[in-house]
Amino acid sequence: MESVGNRKPGTPALHVEDLRVSYRKIAALKSITFEVHKSEIVSLLGANGAGKTTMLNAISGAIPVESGEIRHDGASIKGVPPHRIVQKGIVHVPEGRRIFADLSVAENLRVAAYLYESKRKTLFKERLEFVLSLFPRLKERYAQAGGTLSGGEQQMLAIGRALITGGDILLLDEPSMGLAPMLVQEIFDTIVKISQTGKTILLVEQNATMAMEISNYCYVLETGLISFEGEPEVLRQDNDIASAYLG
């Protein structure tokens, strides 16, 4: 491995070790090791089919892991069902947003709060206010069906929904996909804002240039293996990698 940089010491918030995931007999992830520390923004970069989405699905429990280990604050979360992983504070904002199209914006957000909404009303109110202050546009569309929102608004709703669950590690899968350049900028600005409140972010992106701008640390994935890791500056200076992955 090349430059490891000077990362924070201590137990990482999220630690993936020698992870292997296969779809039937085809290995999608061969041996992945990486770590994400508290309040960092870490991006996983790489071309189509490199295994980025598989990586997030494995962490959030949506697909089974073949071997290796996933640790959250030092404790294993391998094989834990998805809804329990969310309760531990790791929330996955899936690729393509996957909002509940027939439910209103308000209902979309309340589904994410169902575990605590009735018991801790003030907590729900606080989180809701935070989300609506991050995305004022959701406030305007509050009673509208999720399916009638624009792509950018749906992405905001998907991120808002994840924040309402109260998670402190966000796994963002291609948040810029299919959005106009101006909206992409807006979404990335929001990610920085969220990170400033102390949340940890693992970002999967095809738009490597943008992702590197806001990241503290990057991993480059290539056909199920990590081919490079380091701080964004180092990555940018490495001509081979830059030309191969960053266009």
Binding site: S60, P94, F100, V111, R161, I164
Partner: protein, 327 residues
Amino acid sequence: MKKRKGFHLILFAVGLALCCAVMNFGLIQTSKILIIQYVGIYIIFVLGINLVNGYLGIFSLAHAGIMAVGGYTASLASMHIFTSPWMFPLSLLTGGMASVLVGLCVAVPSFNVRGDYLAIITLGFSLIVKSILQNLEVVGGPRGLRPIPKYTNLIWVYLCVVLAIVMVNRFVKSKYGRNMMAIREDQIASELVSVDVRNAKSVAFSVSAFFIGISGALICHLLSYTNPNSYGYSAIIDGLVMVYLGGVGSITGSIIGALIWQILVQSLRTIGTWRWIIGGCILVVIMIFQPNGIFGNRELSIAGIKRAFAAIRNRLAKGAAGKKDGQ
């Protein structure tokens, strides 16, 4: 809010008084009262089916089997255990509870199996229940059970319908209801925002089964007999037709579906097989113009009626304006 509650209470009391009056003074022909009772019982049945097929979005065909379990259990209960008329609610409850247990079993395959495959599994379940009943001599085999005490009357039906509507309404507006709809929209996404899908499906299936079971119990105590043939393909199709005619994911839709279909089927008895042709045609026409049913995913509300009227007025106004421009 309080004012509305009072209004609902008055409405409930008026309905109850009306039922008593109809029963005691013979205001309506007995045959018509029977149709009203059918409508009421099938409203409960359709509400139950709609929870799983509409709100949860799972195409299940288990309702005939669940209804059979509810009907048979309640009938046996009032024939052997709860033998006096005032114990009727206990029989109903027993039937409902037996159905809940069965509903939970049906929920298990729905955790992983989806779509057409689950439809086949639940169809299998319904047919298995039917053939078990046919071959179980203890419950009369193919002849079925008789005589079941004739406890069902207009008041019981009325009370059960009101209870079912109130409970289903509360249920779908609760967090469980929201979770059900979230699972319908996107099961994976709901898991990713902490919804426990297995739990939510189990709850939905049991509440659904409870009402289906109650409706089965009511109908057995209305006809005073029951046999396995009442729970075959025709019961499965009847249920589906009412749900998809009235509207999926809607309480108003369930009521409308049961109302239209039962009145049609029961009142057209005289024309024999032709009623299936007329009924089928109506169904085809509605499915073409309203694929989600008459009240698909909508509820009847005063605000909604006002909006509909405003839309019609707008269209008329526009039409008139267009004509003027043309001239």
